[in-house]
């Protein structure tokens, strides 16, 4: 019988009146991969932050390797043999791999000496765990997959026996994710314990031995992975039955609504972000743009929606031609029949310190329906907001409430309500369900399909491959600013798309 690596007993943590963790207990066996799954805001990250010493629990006990341990800081956690790989890497971009790994553990006065001493140890670790990285490479020259490896090496170098990974696959292609899982398997073989935090069911099923499900701050279930399935886990996460696969009728594409021709974009710092991209979106179809984040999708969307000005190429939107010489901002694009649900709702889609009713008119505030002769018609706006909140099931349905006080899913519904109610010709929607709970995902997906069935053209940009696959009729894959290929959704599979996302052309594959 294997020993217990970590045991948490009745952990409670409150932030003001918000209860982030309530009587959470968790037992992780040594030498296993233990998944913790839950929606955003379920309390997974808080729990791990308590374990890693970022927060102190209000009450409860932590035992590491069957010894009661008090963890007051990350330092204590490292001393207890706990290592963490954060969702956003904590690396110094301009340092080499070796320098990053050594950072914070240098001994003596001479840096060169500690680097020399560490070199052998690091090379040994790389060999033992098959974590090959060039130790002299500078971090910002490495792809994200390798940067993540450096993070893992860093934890191991500090003597971690227990490794916590927080949403590790968010930035990886499916192939890179598979590679990461092989590494995790290797670590398990060597007797390390891995805690994997994620909201993706696929990953839990693929790699973990045991899984714990969190919902609204509570631990709702512990399962052996071999004895459960995706449907059960999803239901546990949400607390009710959910439809994982969306039903939709075949598309009936009409005439082209958006035509992009030879679009090219270079950003302010001179990086060539979008390279000669051409495609079209017809009414009544959903075109999905897949790709690992940071491959030019954001910039492409920003140019199409008028946020960044068109530099080269041309756009045709609903029979209006937009050329680089004619400036067309977001207001003009809206007038031509485009609506836009931006990928970053906190920063772009909402003014979070405005109330819901001020946000529901963002971009449409000049509409005569909301304006009297001089001042705005607050009563009309309030009524409109109230109506939309009911229609799109935004909770709480209080138009006076500040946008920042809504949950991620409800914020997104508010934006979707604002944009979809405009009877557009074209909907451009980016990361529609990022940071949105499963219940709202289902709702938003159905809204997108409904738009398509109503004969609107939909351009969907998402880094979630599942989302692209289940919604799109045609899929374009972007890599390094270019479109690597086009696949019909019915012929697509994760492997083929993954290769395109990694920049491997079909002919070569």
């Amino acid at each position: 019988m294997s020993t217990t690596a970590i045991e948490l007993t009745d952990i409670n943590k409150n932030f003001g009146s918000v209860c982030a963790n309530k009587d959470v207990s968790l037992k992780v066996k040594s030498g296993t991969i233990h998944g913790i799954i839950g929606e955003n805001g379920a309390g997974k990250s808080t729990l791990m932050s308590i374990l890693y010493g970022f927060y102190q629990a209000d009450s409860g006990e932590i035992s590491v390797k069957e010894n009661k341990t008090v963890i007051r800081s990350a330092h204590d956690a490292i001393a207890a043999g706990i290592g963490m790989v954060h969702q956003h890497f904590m690396l110094v971009d301009t340092f080499t791999v070796l320098e990053n790994v050594v950072l914070g553990t240098e001994t003596g006065f001479s840096l060169q000496e500690s680097l020399q001493n560490s070199k052998l140890e690091l090379q040994r670790l790389e060999q033992d765990y098959h974590l090959e990285v060039d130790i002299n490479a500078v971090i910002n020259t490495l792809p994200v997959g390798l940067q993540q490896r450096v993070e893992i090496l860093k934890a191991l170098y500090r003597g971690a026996e227990i490794l916590i990974l927080d949403e590790p696959t968010g930035v990886l292609t499916p192939q890179e994710a598979d590679h990461l899982f092989r590494i995790l398997g290797e670590l398990r073989e060597q007797g390390k314990t891995v805690i994997l935090i994620t909201h993706k069911l696929r990953e839990i099923m693929a790699i973990t031995d045991n899984v714990s499900v969190m919902r609204q701050g509570e631990m709702v279930a512990h399962r052996k992975t071999s004895e459960t399935n995706r449907e059960e886990l999803a239901e546990l996460m949400v607390g009710r039955k959910v439809l994982l696969q969306i039903e939709k009728a075949p598309a009936k594409p009409g005439k082209p609504m958006l035509t992009v021709e030879h679009l090219d974009f270079t950003d302010d710092s001179g990086v060539h972000r979008v390279k000669d991209v051409s495609f079209e979106v017809r009414s009544g179809e959903i075109v999905g743009i897949a790709g690992v984040s940071g491959n030019g999708q954001t910039e492409l969307m920003e140019v199409i929606t008028g946020i960044k000005s068109l530099q080269k190429g041309q756009l045709k939107l609903n029979d209006h031609t937009i050329l680089p010489s004619v400036s067309a901002d977001a207001a003009v694009m809206r007038k031509y029949g485009m609506v836009h649900v931006p990928e970053d709702r906190q920063r772009r889609g909402l003014v979070t310190s405005f109330s819901a009713n001020e946000n529901i008119i963002l971009g449409y505030h000049k509409d005569p329906a909301y304006n009297q002769l001089i001042e705005m018609d607050k009563t009309a706006i309030m009524q409109y907001c109230k109506k939309q909140m009911e229609h799109f099931d935004v909770r709480p349905d209080n138009p006076q409430l500040r946008a920042s006080l809504f949950s991620g899913g409800n914020q997104q519904k508010l934006i979707v309500a604002r944009e979809l109610q405009r009877d557009p010709k074209l909907l451009v929607i980016g990361q529609p369900t990022r940071g949105v709970d499963i219940g709202a995902i289902e709702f938003i997906h159905r809204q997108i399909i409904a738009m398509r069935d109503a004969g609107k053209a939909v351009l969907l940009v998402s880094v979630e491959l599942d989302e692209i696959l289940s919604l799109s009729d045609r899929i374009l894959v972007m890599f390094d600013g270019q479109i690597m290929g086009e696949v019909l959704a019915k012929d697509a599979n994760e492997r083929a798309l993954g290769l395109l996302m990694a920049g491997v052309r079909k002919e070569a594959a």
């Binding site: 901002d329 809206r334 931006p342 889609g349 001089i374 705005m376 006076q400």
Partner: protein, 363 residues
């Protein structure tokens, strides 16, 4: 109690506590100089309120601070830190003065609207140029507006000593306007209704400043124009997303700031001195920043904060006159403490007050 009311309560309590603290420390300083702090406070309040001449001066200063306070607040809501009210008021006053010199035979009913318009245009241009640099070239408005204060100062010195100074006069100021274009002073206005008050520089501009408070309040929170400005101020990328022109809003907001600051010229030049003088705006523009910050950039708060600084100016002058150990510099110290606690250290007690208010709300 809902969230908004709780916020208002927190802000009010925090401000009151900070002011009390500032006065408490001032009291210690006065006490350490061997004077009775209670007597000093009494003298100050009497000087500011106790008799109608004192009150007249207090409200006269208040009028100026309302204008420059608003000039800062409008920019602040658009994400700008306008510290150029000083220069904008100066140039706005120049516009007012030139109109009065030029049209001094005309009726006040025509000259007043023209003067308002000119101060808006003159002060507005002085605000809009830094606004343009900010919007199109990214030059920071703190740097450019302070430079524009100096430029305004140099222009005025030159104009007043070489162009506008009547021949054979020694002091650098223009000639006096004809009496027909003077804004009626408060004692004259009261006289129309058969009431007697002492003559002070307080004039009809005070009523105009209250109107401006109201208009700015409606502009910022009730028009689509104010909506755009606030969006730009809080979240520029959301503004771009919404198709709101960031650069246009910045330029317009700066122009509005300049226009509001320019109204100081109406109060000072048309209402009181009746000639263009050197440094008539001295310090008013900068005090406006403190007024606006202490008043939470809200017209209602600005009204109260402007009154507070009116009291400090007038009551402080009285204090240094009446109490021997207290001179002009100590009055500046008291004003400085108010700015320090209510402006710079505004969040010193905020966590505790928030905690306390939360407890009340729960009950």
């Amino acid at each position: 109690m809902n969230e908004n009311q709780a916020n208002v309560l927190v802000v009010t309590l925090v401000t009151i506590i900070n002011l009390l603290l500032a006065f408490f420390i001032s009291g210690i300083v006065i006490w350490s100089l061997g004077e009775d702090p209670w007597f000093a406070l009494e003298t100050m309040l009497y000087g500011a309120f106790g008799y109608d001449e004192g009150l007249g001066y207090t409200l006269y200063y208040t009028t100026n601070f309302i204008f420059t306070g608003l000039a800062f607040a409008v920019g602040f809501h658009c994400g700008l830190f306008n510290i150029g009210a000083e220069g904008q008021a100066y140039i706005g006053g120049l516009g007012v003065g030139l109109i009065c010199l030029w049209l001094e035979d005309w009726s006040l009913w025509i000259v007043f609207p023209l003067a308002v318009l000119t101060s808006i245009v003159a002060g507005g241009i002085w605000g809009a140029i830094p606004g343009y640099f900010k919007a199109k070239r990214g030059s920071h408005e703190v740097v450019t507006t302070i430079m524009f204060n100096f430029i305004a100062s140099v222009i005025m010195v030159n104009l007043l000593s070489h162009v506008l100074r009547p021949p054979k006069e020694m002091s650098p100021e223009s000639r006096e306007f004809a009496e027909g274009v003077w804004i009626p002073q408060m004692h004259e206005i009261f006289n129309w209704f058969g009431l007697e008050i002492t003559q002070t520089p307080l004039n009809g501009t005070f009523i105009f400043s209250i109107l401006c408070l109201f208009l700015v309040w409606r502009l910022i929170w009730f028009t689509s124009w104010g909506y755009e400005m606030r969006t730009v101020g809080i979240n520029e990328s959301a503004a771009v997303y919404a198709g709101i022109s960031v650069s246009r809003n910045i330029i317009i907001a700066m122009a509005v700031c300049g226009g509001l600051a320019g109204f100081v010229g109406i109060n000072e030049i048309m209402g009181s001195s009746h000639r263009i003088m050197l440094n008539f705006q001295a310090g008013i523009g900068f005090t406006g920043i403190a007024v606006s910050l202490i008043g939470r950039n809200h017209p209602f708060g600005i009204m109260l904060a402007a009154l507070l600084f009116g009291i400090l100016y007038q009551g402080g002058a009285e204090l240094s006159f009446e109490v021997q150990a207290i001179d002009r510099h100590l009055v500046v110290l008291i004003q400085g403490l108010v700015i320090l606690f209510a402006g710079a250290l505004e969040n010193l007690f905020r966590p505790q007050v928030e905690q306390y208010v939360k407890q009340i709300v729960r009950r």
